[in-house]
Structures are given as structure tokens and as C-alpha cells.
Symmetry: C2
Subunit: 133 residues, 2 copies
DNA sequence: TCATTGTGGATTATTTTTATCTTATTTATC
DNA sequence: GATAAATAAGATAAAAATAATCCACAATGA
């Protein structure tokens, strides 16, 4: 029922990138040192963020990572979903899964409602908002 | 970010008990067969529910399990917390954990808000409500 | 006394998560 | 073109969490 450590790494990484002057590339090594995240693991995590179009990467010397769009257009739900896949409180609410009883199942309905409420709040503030406060 | 299978077992068990005529004891074996849950694992799960005062157990022949209080006074948050411990979206929000930055950390604040919203919905309907619909 | 049921603890198996390592590929710079 | 710095990709290992099983024990109703 918790976000993974990898999601937390991803969030800290995205905040670090959001603080960088716009367009500036930060290397995985630099971020890993600043945020105390294992470098290789961070690279993998950055790849997930890139596949979700949250960051853009650039190879070669003076390469690195930057946000793919302005920090006011990225929220926690985006980041967690990029790392963990679609957010679902139970398997029966995951995209591919189709439980025959889903529509009538009261448990499913309640979990779905809780999930929606959570998602709404995870989408409330952008990275930019979080840096302001 | 999902509830565990054990929590799901616990929810199904509690619904089964809520359907039983009040005061009736159901054996772990009976529930495990009806709900297709491994018997020994279910017994452990029932123990967790008993420790949380959600069910009462009785040994001996014709022993079994029943709800510890009326079904309209038990909700999904109770059950999940009984099995998984206090619900926390991130370690930094768990009871024992104290992060020095917690108060000012914008991530923590947002996760806490999402967690509260989710909990509110998990507490909305009781077992009795769920059986009605 | 005996069969039935939960208790408790140990152990194993499986899955998920986290971390590491190695070899490629890209690319700026000299 | 050579070189060095960076990401890409995939294999593997290590650790942790979850799920399942097993067994000896204690309670209790018949």
C-alpha cells in the first residue's frame, strides 16, 4: 500500500530537475550524488521517466537529463505512474484485468472510489507548486 | 501501491462472516473452501483480524470465527489496517518514522493529503452497506 | 477420551523490489 | 579520427516482502 523507493527516487529526481535552470541538462551521476541514489538504479529510473515522456535525455559528454515539459504541467500521479505503471489499489482495478463481477462487486466499487479520491489529490499540485511552498 | 492478497482474503472473509446469521461461528476450513483461500494462510489472517478486535474466535469442535461487532461498524480501512498495519502511502508517513523535514517537505504534504482522501473513502461504507447494494 | 477446531512458531517458496555489473552506443571536443 | 563522457540495454545478483505450508500444541464440546 506504499509507493516504492524507486518512485521516491523518481520524485526527488524530478524535483531536482525542476529546480535546474530551464533547459539545463543534469547528468545521472550529478543527481545520484546530490540525492544519494545509487547511480545505476537511477539511470534505469530515468529511463522509465523518459519512456513516459516526463524527461528528455541526451547522450554524450555534457549530456544528461531535463524535464520534457514545464514543471507546472507535471504532478506526483504522473511520476508514480511512470515508474510503477497505472495506479491501482487492487489488481481487480488494473487496466488489463477484467473480473466478471466487477460492476456489481461492492468491494471493487469502494476501492475504485478511494483510488479516485487519492489520484485527485496526487494530481492537485504540480512540481512548480511544490517548489513554491 | 496495491493492497496485498492477504488483505483481499481478509475482506472476503469479513464479508462472508457478515452474511452469516448473527453470532454464528464459521470455521476457517469452511471459509477457506467457500472463498478458495489456502486454509493455513487464512488461519493466520484470521488471527490478525482477531488481534485487531474485528473478529472473535472460539476453539474446539463447533468452534470458529464470528464478527466482534455489528457489520455496520466495520469498514475496509479497518480490515486493511488490521492486516497490513497502519495505512501509509510512504514510509515517511508511517507512525514511527520521523523525518526531520516532514513539516516543510512538499512531497510529504501532498502524499499525506492523498492518503487522507483515500482513507476517508475506505471508511465511507460499512460491511453492512456493501452487502445491501 | 476423542475428534475438531484455533494457536504458535518454524520453515519454505515465490514474487517483487533494489542494486550491481558489463558491454554497447551516442556525441561533444580536441 | 581518437578520446572521453554520457546514456542504453540487458543480464545477474542480492535483499526484502509476500504467500504458502507444515507440525506440534492447546482448548473444548460431545
Amino acid at each position: 500500500m506504499q509507493i516504492t523507493r524507486q518512485s521516491e527516487y523518481a520524485i526527488r529526481t524530478m524535483l531536482e530537475l525542476a529546480q535546474a535552470t530551464s533547459g539545463e541538462l543534469l547528468s545521472a551521476r550529478y543527481i545520484s550524488e546530490r540525492q544519494d541514489i545509487p547511480e545505476d538504479f537511477l539511470k534505469k529510473t530515468v529511463k522509465l521517466l523518459a519512456m513516459a515522456d516526463l524527461v528528455v535525455t541526451q547522450r554524450g559528454p555534457s549530456g544528461g537529463v531535463r524535464l520534457a515539459r514545464p514543471a507546472d504541467q507535471i504532478n506526483l500521479a504522473d511520476i508514480i505512474a511512470a515508474v510503477e505503471g497505472p495506479i491501482a489499489l487492487n489488481q481487480c482495478l488494473s487496466p488489463g484485468y477484467d473480473c466478471p463481477n466487477q460492476l456489481t462487486c461492492p468491494v471493487s466499487r469502494n476501492l475504485a472510489r478511494a483510488q479516485q479520491a487519492m489520484l485527485k489529490e496526487l494530481r492537485r499540485e504540480s512540481l512548480a507548486d511544490m517548489l513554491k511552498h
